[in-house]
């Protein structure tokens, strides 16, 4: 196993804050050139793990190697080898697009003709040529996000860390952003990305599911979905919140969750389950306008895995 095949190697990485264990003995490898997704609710330990891997936070114990460098002892080498984009895509709001690019270029030692080339690449990629002399505070969030991505890539790092890069951005801009990420991966960059948007996780080649500081599963999205063995009923109902109440504790029903405007009900058996659900709804004076067995979403996978381990969700 070399750093060429596995640019990120994590072994029993742990971080405590006092009595609270934010990251609990997490181990995994990231393959070269893949989009590695880090999925979990807020507080699951995603950001803490990323901060340890980018040299921003010292692990309490365990080991991490990024681009072949030790995250504890070779922080500066790690920082040179990676691009990092934080949750707040921290650009300087009072600097222009170009000034932000040139600042990060200077900090990463990108100068001369290489700077010219990278500046052009970033402006092309982010489509910010027309806005290049505007201060970033005037830009829409989606534009800032693309610029922040460009700044993180100014030194052409082999590994890119993105901590919830799409939080607060509208779905169209998010979609476009993921196309850019995909392009980076095709170009050979390894992308390590965390998110709490389940639907975004589908873009990842492999997903690490985090809950309460622990890694609960690691696999391709499709393989993860296949792990859910219990049938899931999607129910449409006029008053979804009341339906959730009505279905709680019904025998044969394992879990009820709001899923957009409908409900996802995990049952032990599809046939017996639908009967139990119908009668429970009728008992509460509600009727299901539509009820069918569906493929589990990643959210269902998540809930199912957490339940299988007897745990509870954070938040």
């Amino acid at each position: 196993m070399t750093e060429m095949e596995h640019p990120v190697v994590v072994r029993e990485l742990t971080r405590r804050f006092g009595d609270f264990v934010a990251v609990d003995s997490v181990s995994f490898d990231v393959r070269s050139g893949e989009i590695f997704g880090f999925l979990g609710p807020n507080g699951a330990g995603k950001t803490t793990t990323i901060k340890m891997l980018t040299g921003l936070l010292t692990p309490t114990s365990g080991e991490g190697r990024v681009a072949g460098f030790d995250v504890l002892r070779e922080r500066n080498e790690v920082k040179r080898a990676i691009g990092y984009m934080s949750q707040r895509f921290s650009l300087y709001p009072d600097l222009t697009v170009l000034e932000n690019i040139e600042l990060y270029a200077g900090l990463y030692g990108v100068t001369g003709t290489r700077l010219d080339r990278r500046r052009t690449w970033i402006l092309d990629m982010s489509e910010l040529w027309d806005a290049r002399n505007r201060t970033t505070e005037q830009l829409p969030l989606g534009w800032k996000q693309r610029l922040a991505l460009g700044c993180a890539m100014v030194h052409e790092p082999p590994i890119l860390f993105l901590d919830e890069p799409t939080s607060g951005v509208d779905p169209v801009a998010r979609r476009r952003f993921w196309d850019l990420i995909d392009g980076m991966a095709v170009g050979g960059t390894t992308v390590f990305v965390s998110t709490h948007y389940m639907e975004e996780a589908e873009y990842c080649h492999r997903l690490a599911l985090m809950n309460r500081g622990r890694l609960i599963a690691l696999d391709a999205p499709r393989a993860l979905r296949e792990r859910v063995v219990e049938p899931i009923l999607e129910i449409r109902c006029a008053d979804a919140p009341r339906a959730v109440e009505a279905l709680g504790g019904v025998p044969g029903v394992l879990d009820v969750a709001m899923f957009g405007r409908s409900l996802h009900v995990t049952v032990v058996d599809a046939v017996a389950g639908s009967d139990a659900v119908s009668s429970a709804l009728a008992g509460a004076g509600l009727t299901a306008t539509d009820m069918r067995v569906v493929e589990p979403s990643l959210e269902d996978v998540f809930v199912s895995l957490v339940r299988a381990q007897g745990g509870a969700l954070v938040g």
């Binding site: 921003l56 707040r88 990463y108």
Partner: protein, 373 residues
Amino acid sequence: MSLDSGRLGAMARKEWIQLRRDPRSMILAFVLPLFLLLFFGYAITWDVDDIPIVVVDRDRTAASRSLVDAFVASGYFTVAEHAETGRQAEEDLVAARVKGILTVPPEYATDLSSGRGAVVQLLLDGSDANTATIAQNYADAIVARHGARALPGNRARAAPLRLEPRTWYNPNLESRHMIVPGLIAVIMSIIAAMLTALTIAREWERGTMEQLAATPVARVEVVLGKLLPYLLIGLFDVAVTVVAGMAIFGTPFNGSVVLLAAMTLLFLLGALGLGIFISAAVKSQVLATQIAMIATYLPAVLLSGFLFDIASMPFVLRTFTYLIPARYFVTVTRGIFLKGVGAPVLWPEALFMLGYAVLGLGLATHVFRKELA
């Protein structure tokens, strides 16, 4: 950790651009120093003149009028009123319309011409001790001179012992000449810490610090990169206030410009470092500004020797003044402005300021943790 000039340059350039676009920093850097100079320069003065007095002339002779005229002619006193009675005059004193009562007794002219010697009374309002002391000194001098002239035959008796005082560096003892150089030192301590107090706290508040920390930039590069633009502004501010002090207040400048620039540089390193240290320690712009204000303003005004003579402070306070960087800079500016002294005299101050520069920058770099715990 090695210092990379490319990263340092990138930080300094960025800081310079931000400074130029931030109206608050621009006001702090370019408007406030001149405003403070004018404000304090005009407001603070120990020169007392036109002291209002009320005259109770019980003699009403040419001689008594001549004495009162001597008071007025000195320029230090003005006669606000001529009172008939002592009671009436007292009312003026109580109501603070006047600072003193000059009473000329009956028989003043007779006593004076007879050679017996006359006594006049000056009653002063001691609730303003400073003015009272000065008024008393002026009155002493006026009466002594007037008395000598009023002697019959105008023959001055030679006193057996005579002091001939002469004041160097500020021969007319104009307090403004002492205030302005000290004021420049005080203004720069405040401005320097206020300017940099914002810088690191702002990065924390905006979340850009995390992004910086993820780059290979070293702590010392961040601190120095932030320091450089403010160092230039500080030097510029000192130049402007020095020129303004000379042009507006007529303060003499007898020393070396180069020495002042070098000393200013030393002082600014410490003062700016202190601001960065505060900013890095508290991580909040509002709090950092307040702490910078408290940590610099009061000590610089009260304990630097700017307003109050350090030598006459109680031991504990006097010891404490050694901790105030402004103390050394006040000594330096006054020395260079008024005495024209050079490095051979000011080296201890230079050494202390160098110590503070090392301490300030060291603390700033140390406390500013790049790690986000």
